[in-house]
């Protein structure tokens, strides 16, 4: 049966900003769906608030709405676009939840829109704990014993039967927010209370603990004729108890016999039929008791998920694309397998390699957060590695993580083994028992220390098959250490086990280059093998490669011109989807120019690692060794490293040294802008101002500099992204601590100490150049003052408060710098404006985080143009020579993961903490800002009570804001000091006691939801405990909390708009048509 012809226009809902548990995998799936449906002749309407996605590029849909993902907006778009169907299964939990809410409100029925992929009934059955349990039991599928409760009292009654420890899972939340394992009564009450609050329907499941059981996932697809296939099986390295997003996972499953696997497979098929997912993909999780094999189903996602992105990359089977096709009526046998061409998609991929996924966390950004891994996901990104053995894949994955380890390296200085054996043992034991980000390294450490596999197994419950494999790696490391010098056979074996050159060099205490040149001399190079869905049973046409050390190489090297694009590796705070967006554009541009594009990346969530994005995909860690192996094989015209963020940039010098041409801005220019000493000289030369600063290599030097320029100062290491270890420091004691941290974060790199410009306005400028012509792409004014990391600030384009002459001065300064650095490609500069003077904060000769946002705002694909410029085209030839004037306003707002880390202060600073961004576009600033706030789930109230507590220096500016709020009929609550200041200015305010001094205080108001907005600026360098409590409680209870005066001012304007209820929706294509009229 071919595709449906009764539907013509399909609305796809995206997943919004990148947050923990919803990252770029949904851009990957959404992009595939958009492409597939348009190829089949459907009109596609898209709703997604995230501008950093490929799917929101104007070419990927007929009408793209970069608007907040809410039911109201959805309805407005439906009224305007009149789609026939809505596909909600490709935008993660966000899309599913919105579709479910809209369905409950009868919106789809009202406008005659059909939900395709999954209907409201099956969504409810899969997501609602009780309905799910009933359905599974009816189908004869075993589950952990459990009960659904709606109150704390009910919960306490229930736990008497089920017993502790038990697992608590709130219904309808993202990535298990608010869930957890309770070992004692106190924990139990805490988790239940929080879970009830975070569940959209105040429903929580209490479940028999299956802690320590083996955990599996199956990716299942079903078509409308009830044909079902399992795309991939995944086994979790970390047993039950750790969220699968926080687990190291392996594909395919490794330790089940065929009988057990087939039983699981059969149950998964039963489950998808029972839940009634008519078409598309689902992810189903199982637990197995390792003692007796009892198998229970854990949960099911009736949609494309993070694991399906992983499964797609692991097998070559494009789940999202096929899901979209199934949703419009195709059957699996009607869809060809892209990779083999001759065989259909109605089969189960079989693989002949081992895939390992390792999560990446960001605990260094949230030092107060509990780093224990539980059933609530905490990681921000992941890396995938492919090898012919688990050992090889694991080590490739670990070096691809870029966490400072080149493989399974030590985390404890071996000298301590002798000096403090007991402490070391205790440290290892603790890290084995409590799942944590470094557990994999501690397992290795335990083996080095002499723990047996059995001991480690009893402490971790990790399957012994995994442990013995790790032991083989460590045994070889020990052998290598005792083996004096290198020989070809030993080195070959090391490479087969996945050891990197750097790691081997570390073990042998030699230089990395020595390992490399030894390898060269003995011609020990990797071969590349294909990912082909079928274990070589059929010929593959898709060039998707991974490296391994074996006999036969399968690469086909074309004689044409080729360019390598280096991707950004795993998502992390500071380096995420924005950079992948740029890499994908680079690939598109190369294709347009007839140049072969070779993508190197190891992040399975991305569009860049889709096998049809580039001419060839090398799914490899982005390290110097791995990249040089590829360039040796391919001999490309050059490498593009401007787009992948800091990861590829860190390889610039190494690649240059190896004689690999770097396209675009020269390596020396990159160094001149990254090395702060050199950069200072450059600024002096062209007469640009910078805050007084100095360079230190030790605490002693730092102290001296700080004394000269005076506190407060900002300390930052060079060569880091996302402001890692950057801090504003007010005194010497704190300075010492931070200098130490900075040296740790970036060893052997000097530390820059700047005078901190308090209360300055910060500006971001993006520019494109071809070495001759330079064009400013966008000037963005930050809404928060300087001192807050640019990745965390809300920004507005065009600037909303800067006078024209200041904008002109910044423009000139930018052009001067671009000329001096001979920018070929993209550049980003940050300025701070203080006392009517622009100061240069930093210059990055590469694509910045704002490129996708600016590209969407001005309707110009900047990364694509930059790529073409790097290939030698001029901007003149490309037709982009003039800055674009905007007839509307675009606001970029950041989204933070604070709700994942309870107790963490939400104060912003120079260290970046946001995971994602949204865009609000409207005719004026207030409207655009409001949209950005709604899109970022910062719910601004229309009425109610506002709590104000500000530091002394902010009190004056606060008066105007409070007055405005009063006019808008808000009740004002304040701390005593602030209340007094307000009253003195004729503004009525109710004063609340300090938290320690009486009740009801603000915490009671928060808990009772009697306060609707909080404005709290920090009182000084050390935030008072009270303030941290207020802010973190606000996050917990979902009350917006504003921590800067400028943010408060803007929010009040937005509230005014909100009260008028005049939000309108407009597609990006319509905005761009407006642009064409005036430019």
């Amino acid at each position: 049966m071919p595709k449906r012809t009764d539907i013509k226009k399909i609305l796809i809902i995206g997943s919004g900003p990148i947050i923990i548990s919803q990252a770029c995998e949904f851009d990957y799936s959404g992009t595939q769906a958009c492409k597939a449906l348009r190829q089949d002749g459907y009109k596609v309407v898209l709703l997604n608030s995230n501008p950093a996605t490929i799917m929101t590029d104007p070419d990927f849909a007929d009408a793209t709405y970069i608007e907040p993902i809410t039911v109201e907006v959805l309805e407005k778009i439906i009224i305007k676009e009149k789609p026939d169907a809505c596909l909600p299964t490709l935008g993660g939990q966000t899309a599913l939840n919105i579709a479910f809410s809209a369905a409950k409100k009868g919106i789809f029925e009202k406008y005659n829109v059909e939900l395709i992929g999954a209907n409201a009934e099956s969504i409810a059955k899969a997501e609602d704990r009780q309905l799910f349990k009933d359905a599974m039991l009816a189908a004869g599928i075993d589950l952990p014993r459990s009960k659904v409760v709606y109150s704390l009292e009910e919960a306490q009654e229930c736990v008497k039967e089920i017993g502790l420890p038990c697992v608590i899972r709130p219904a309808f939340t993202l990535g298990g927010t608010g869930g957890g394992v309770a070992f004692n009564e106190e924990e139990f009450i805490n988790i239940i209370s929080l879970g009830l609050k975070q569940s959209l329907i105040e429903e929580v499941l209490i479940e028999e603990s299956v802690l320590g059981w083996k955990e599996y996932e199956l990716e299942v697809m079903r078509d409308k004729n009830d044909n079902v296939v399992i795309v991939c099986s995944i086994e979790n390295f970390d047993p039950m108890g750790v969220h699968t997003g926080d687990s190291i996972t392996v594909a395919p499953q490794q330790t089940l016999t065929d009988k057990e696997y087939q039983k699981m497979r059969t149950q998964a098929i039963k489950a998808i039929r029972t839940i009634g997912v008519d078409t598309g993909g689902s992810n189903i999780q199982f637990g197995i008791n390792p003692e007796d094999g009892r198998m229970v189903i854990i949960e099911m996602n009736p949609r494309v998920s993070r694991s399906s992105a992983l499964a797609s990359k692991a097998t070559g089977f494009p789940i999202a694309k096929i899901a979209a096709k199934l949703a419009v009526g195709y059957t699996l046998d009607e869809i060809p397998n892209d990779i083999t061409k001759e065989t259909p998609a109605s089969f189960e991929p079989t693989i002949d390699y081992c895939v390992v996924k390792i999560p990446r966390w960001a605990f260094e950004k949230f030092p107060e957060a509990d780093p224990t891994l539980t059933t609530s996901m905490k990681s921000v990104g992941e890396v995938m590695a492919i090898g012919r053995t688990f050992k090889e894949a694991l080590q490739k994955g670990l070096r691809g993580l870029e966490s400072g380890k080149n493989g399974l390296e030590s985390v404890i200085d071996s000298k301590r083994y002798r000096v403090q054996p007991q402490e070391v043992e205790a440290q290892i034991r603790a890290h084995l028992i409590n799942p944590n980000a470094e557990r994999i390294f501690y397992i290795a450490e335990a083996l080095r220390f002499g723990f047996s596999v059995d001991e480690i197994h009893s402490l971790t419950s990790i399957d012994k098959w995994f442990l013995i494999n790790i032991k083989e790696i460590i045994d070889f490391e020990i052998y290598l250490r005792s083996h004096r010098g290198l020989d070809a056979k030993t080195l070959s074996r090391a490479k087969e086990l996945g050891f990197s050159d750097k790691q081997i060099a570390g073990i042998l205490n030699i230089d990395e280059y020595k390992t490399y040149s030894f390898r060269q001399r003995h011609e020990i190079y990797p071969v590349y093998k294909l990912v082909d869905t079928c274990a070589a049973e059929f010929k593959a046409y898709t060039p998707y490669y991974y490296s391994t050390y074996e006999q036969e190489d399968e690469t086909w090297i074309s004689p044409g011109e080729k360019v390598v694009i280096l991707g950004g590796g795993p998502n992390r705070i500071g380096q995420g989807i924005e950079f992948d967006y740029c890499c994908v554009h680079a690939s598109f541009a190369l294709r347009e120019e007839g140049v072969e594009s070779l993508m190197v990346n190891c992040n399975p969530e991305t569009v860049s690692t889709d096998y049809d994005t580039s001419s060839k995909l090398y799914f490899e860690p982005v390290t110097l060794e791995d990249v040089l192996n590829i360039t040796r094989k391919e001999n490309p015209k050059g490498v593009i490293l401007q787009f992948g963020g800091q990861t590829p940039l860190n390889l610039a010098l190494g690649l240059d040294k190896a004689g690999i041409p770097i396209l675009g801005t020269k390596a020396s220019s990159i160094d001149a802008s990254e090395d702060r000493d050199k950069f200072k000289k450059l600024l002096n030369k062209i007469g640009l101002k910078q805050a007084p600063s100095g360079i230190a290599n030790s605490f002693y030097e730092a102290k001296k500099i700080a004394k000269e320029i005076g506190f407060p100062v900002m300390v930052r290491p060079s060569y880091v992204l996302g402001g890692r270890a950057m801090e504003i420091v007010y005194d010497e004691e704190v300075l010492e601590r931070f200098v130490r941290e900075a040296i740790l974060a970036s060893p052997n790199q000097p530390i820059l100490i700047d005078k901190f410009l308090e209360d300055a306005i910060e500006i971001d400028v993006d520019l494109i150049g071809d070495g001759q012509t330079y064009v400013i792409a966008g000037i963005l004014e930050h809404i928060e003052e300087a001192g807050i990391h640019s990745g965390d600030s809300a920004m507005c384009m065009p600037p909303f408060s800067l006078p024209d002459r200041m904008i002109e001065r910044i423009r000139q300064a930018t052009y001067d710098l671009a000329r001096e650095l001979k920018i070929v490609g993209l550049m980003n500069i940050q300025y701070a404006v203080k006392y009517d003077e622009p100061y240069v904060l930093e210059v990055n000769p590469r694509a910045s985080r704002t490129i996708p946002f600016v590209s969407k705002a001005i309707g110009v694909p900047l990364a694509k143009l930059a790529t073409k410029v790097m290939l030698g085209k001029t901007l003149e030839e490309l037709g982009f020579t003039k800055e674009v004037e905007l007839p509307y306003t675009c606001v970029k707002e950041s989204v933070f993961p604070f709700n994942r880390f309870s107790g963490v202060d939400i104060m912003l600073g120079p260290e970046m903490k946001s995971t994602g961004e949204v865009m609000g576009i409207a005719e004026d600033f207030a409207n655009a800002y409001l949209k950005s706030q709604i899109a970022a789930s910062q719910s601004l109230p229309k009425e109610g009570a506002v709590f104000i507590s500000v530091k002394n220096s902010d009190k004056r500016s606060m008066i105007f804001i409070a007055k405005k709020l009063k006019e808008l009929n808000f009740e004002i609550l304040a701390t005593q000091g602030t209340a007094k200041a307000l009253r003195n200015n004729g503004i009525e305010a109710r004063s609340l006691p300090r938290i320690s001094e009486g009740r009801p205080n603000i915490l009671d108001y928060i808990k009772d939801k009697k306060v609707h907005l909080i404005i709290n600026t920090p009182s000084g360098r050390i935030p008072r405990q009270d303030e941290i409590k207020i802010r973190s409680e606000a996050v917990r209870f979902g009350i917006s909390c504003i921590t800067t005066i400028s943010g408060a001012q803007t929010s009040v304007s937005a509230i005014e708009v909100l009260r008028k209820d005049i939000i309108t929706v407009k597609s990006i294509q319509e905005y761009h048509r407006e642009l064409k009229k005036i430019n």
């Binding site: 004729n225 009830d226 044909n227 296939v229 399992i230 099986s233 395919p252 499953q253 490794q254 330790t255 089940l256 016999t257 065929d258 009988k259 696997y261 087939q262 039983k263 497979r265 059969t266 390792p290 003692e291 007796d292 094999g293 699996l332 046998d333 001759e342 065989t343 259909p344 109605s346 089969f347 189960e348 991929p349 079989t350 693989i351 002949d352 390699y353 081992c354 012919r388 053995t389 688990f390 596999v453 399957d463 012994k464 098959w465 013995i468 494999n469 083989e472 093998k529 079928c534 274990a535 070589a536 049973e537 059929f538 010929k539 074996e550 006999q551 036969e552 399968e554």
Partner: protein, 375 residues
């Protein structure tokens, strides 16, 4: 660990490590794409005469247990893998793969590029191969390989078939019969897989296995409700006694002298095809794996099936009273047929799984239904 080497007919030579008996073996090399189920594969008598190369690289992870066997011993003539597991991880495991191969005196090799071997077989077709842990002289190895006879035209069934008939008692572990099993089924053993018998046990009360050389009278004595021609190794054409038996059974059906449903699986399917006047031919590299899509032409439904065969019925040669019921969606080869007038049908794939998906197990239910409809 001892060194071993592998040599293929096309000259491919690689050294690896000996796995199992430190000796030498020759056979037809085939690759199997199942990611789990190595124990079932090793014990499947259909692999007689063949050396199996597993495309999945990590083998032996869950060891070997007493339950997951498809016959009483290891039947492959050699085993090629990328990496053996150094540990056994399963609550059911009793020994390691290595011990198992050693005890069964099977020669194997690991640490070789199994993907390279697979690609050669794909490109050039199944070919003879040799594994040795004793001889590393390529000249001498080559000579031995050349002397070894081809699988075509060899009767391998006689090497694996049971000597005497026996009664089978065990049913499948995974599911309970929906109705009380009734009636008798006679299984013509050409190298039967236990999984077929276990599945039959869910439907029939008495399962009697007879050697392929058994006489028709012996079968008729049992008064069977159903007769099943089993799977087995190699080329069906030389298995003349089984084809002859098939002819006799069909003749009795035609003459209404026999009231029984007849079913064939894999080699059994080919034997029935030959008995009905069709011809078989050898596929380039066969079907060996657990992921082949098979479409039921009547319902349009697709089953993911377990497959293990090198020979195939030629659709063109089938008489008109036969209908093709299933096709393989990979290469459009026939996967099942039924007789338009007689209670007879057969499938090329393995509905019993072992290893592989359970999708097609309902076929045994169909067989029982057909048998019941006759009485």
């Amino acid at each position: 660990m001892k060194k071993a080497c592998i040599l293929l007919e096309d000259g491919f030579y690689q050294e690896g490590l000996s796995l199992g008996a430190d000796s030498e073996t020759i056979g037809e090399v085939v690759f199997n794409t199942s990611m789990s189920g190595y124990q079932e594969i090793l014990t499947d008598a259909s692999y007689k005469g063949q050396i199996v190369c597993m495309t999945y690289p990590l083998i032996g992870n869950y060891g070997v247990n007493p339950q997951d066997v498809e016959s009483s011993r290891v039947r492959v003539d050699g085993f090629i893998i990328k990496e053996r597991s150094r540990i056994v991880s399963s609550w059911r495991a009793e020994k390691s793969l290595e011990e198992y191969l050693k005890q069964n005196n099977i020669v194997g090799i690991d640490s070789v590029d199994t993907r390279a071997i697979t690609k050669r077989i794909r490109a050039k077709g199944s070919m003879k191969g040799l594994i040795s842990a004793v001889d590393f002289d390529t000249g001498s190895l080559k000579e031995k390989l050349e002397r070894f006879p081809s699988i075509v035209g060899r009767d391998l069934v006689k090497e694996v078939v049971c000597r005497e008939s026996y009664l089978w008692e065990e049913a499948t572990q995974e599911e309970e019969p929906k109705e009380k099993p009734t009636g008798t089924v006679a299984v013509i053993d050409c190298g039967i897989k236990f999984s077929i018998l276990r599945n039959l046990k869910n439907y029939f009360e008495k399962i009697i296995v007879l050697p392929a050389e058994a006489s028709l009278d012996k079968i008729l004595e049992l008064n069977p409700q159903g007769i099943l021609f089993s799977n087995g190794p190699g080329d069906p054409e030389p298995v003349s006694y089984a084809i002859e038996l098939g002819r006799k059974v069909i003749e009795r059906l035609r003459n209404k002298e026999l009231k029984a449903a007849v079913m064939g699986i894999c080699l059994g399917h080919q034997i029935l095809g030959l008995a009905l006047g069709g011809k078989t031919y050898k596929l380039k590299f066969g079907h060996h794996g657990g992921n082949h899509p098979v479409k039921d032409l009547k319902t349009g439904k697709i089953d993911i099936t377990s497959q293990n065969h090198n020979f195939c019925l030629d659709i063109q040669t089938l008489p008109r009273d036969l209908e093709v019921t299933h096709i393989n969606l990979y290469d459009k080869t026939p996967e099942g047929m039924c007789h338009k007038n007689l209670p007879l049908f057969s499938v090329q794939f393995h509905p019993e799984a072992g290893p592989g998906p359970f999708d097609a197990r309902y076929i045994f239910g169909n067989f029982k239904k057909m048998a019941d409809s006759l009485s």
